[in-house]
């Protein structure tokens, strides 16, 4: 995960809304020095709950920020843990042995197979 992409996005959204780091920090009850460190990639992104608070304050898509923060959304954690195949897919994506297009093709093929079976 590239933590600067999360920080850069937060900074971009904050600037667009005309908020200072202190304004944003106050609205989500964080310390402004931490916001400055996250934005400059000097600190890791916060946990999912805080990321969602940030998204709300910034008027942003929470899923986008959760994704950029490298977090697995709470709603998906159970699904990830319940299947031994999902970590294999994640590792393959990380290692580049499959890419996004191949993954989409695979999902489509699985859907088609399922449809055919009905």
């Amino acid at each position: 995960m590239d933590i600067t992409s999360f920080g850069n996005r937060v900074r971009e959204l904050r600037k667009a809304k005309g908020l200072t780091q202190k304004d944003l920090a106050a609205s989500v009850k964080l310390d402004f020095t931490y916001i400055s460190k996250v934005e400059t990639g000097k600190a890791d992104p916060p946990g999912e709950d805080v990321v969602r608070r940030l998204a709300k304050a910034l008027g942003a898509d929470p899923e986008e920020l959760v994704y950029l923060a490298g977090k697995v959304p709470k709603a998906l954690r159970g699904v990830v843990a319940s299947s031994s195949a999902i970590p294999v897919v994640f590792r393959a994506l990380r290692d580049g042995t499959i890419d996004d297009e191949e993954l989409k093709s695979l999902v489509e093929a699985l859907r088609a197979r399922k449809q055919k079976g009905k």
């Binding site: 900074r11 600037k15 005309g18 020095t33 400055s36 400059t40």
Partner: protein
């Protein structure tokens, strides 16, 4: 190194504020949003990070040209909390370094940082060993600005320190906005000056220096404020003797 005249600095900061207004559509009102201005106009980053002052030095902020980052010294947070004007002025000072001496448009002005690609960090507003005895109380009294300015003069290049401090003053206290305030406030009243300083988010000392630079007011020998420039006041003194 280019010497920046007062008129040039006034023109530069006015142009920057106008540019910010055009860019954002937001009216410029006091306190001037110096952090947003740094980010929007110059794409500078702001980082609060502790860094150790060199022995005998007071370093409220630094600048990293390679990453375009203003680093505010988190170790001095208590000082900034106590005197928000000190932090704002320090940020304005760093913006001045960028705008007057580092931005692409002014490469002819010469870089303070040498090769800006090397990641050099420029510690600003440092204070030499000799003056260390002043440091612990530097932000606690209204004379802090003068002390800091004096110390800068003896530790930094006078040309640069003078230019970036005048830049910070003009950026944080634009002439036209000050004029509007003093249509209603008595410029010869310290109480009024304190209220104006608070509105602009600057120290009373920084405001006093700015008003003196503008030639609007002068501090008389007895500490009272006189509505004239320092030169005019000095002239009057000579005449009266």
């Amino acid at each position: 190194m280019k010497f920046w005249r007062n008129r040039e600095i006034e023109e530069r900061t006015s142009a920057r504020l106008a540019e910010y207004h055009r860019m954002t559509g937001w009216e410029i009102e006091p306190p001037v949003p110096v952090e947003l201005l740094a980010e929007r106009l110059f794409d500078l980053r702001l980082l609060y990070e502790p860094f150790v002052d060199a022995p005998g030095f007071f370093v409220p902020a630094a600048f990293e040209p390679a990453t375009r980052t203003i680093v505010v010294n988190e170790n001095h947070r208590a000082a900034f909390d106590d005197k928000p004007g000190l932090e704002r002025f320090s940020v304005g000072h760093e913006v001045g370094h960028w705008d007057l001496f580092e931005s692409n448009a002014d490469k002819s002005s010469g870089s303070l940082f040498g090769d800006t690609a090397t990641g050099t960090r420029m510690n600003c507003r440092t204070v030499g060993n000799i003056e260390a005895r002043f440091i612990p109380g530097i932000w606690r009294d209204d004379g802090s600005y003068e002390v800091l300015s004096y110390l800068e003069r003896v530790t930094d290049s006078p040309t640069v320190a003078s230019a970036v401090n005048r830049y910070a003053g003009a950026l944080l206290m634009p002439r036209n906005l000050l004029r509007e305030f003093f249509d209603f406030y008595d410029i010869t009243s310290w109480t009024c000056l304190r209220a104006v300083a608070e509105s602009f988010g600057v120290s009373i000392s920084a405001l006093k220096v700015r008003l003196e630079k503008l030639g609007w007011v002068c501090v008389a020998a007895d500490g009272s404020l006189v509505k004239c420039s320092r030169e005019e006041y000095a002239g009057q003194q000579r005449i009266s003797f």
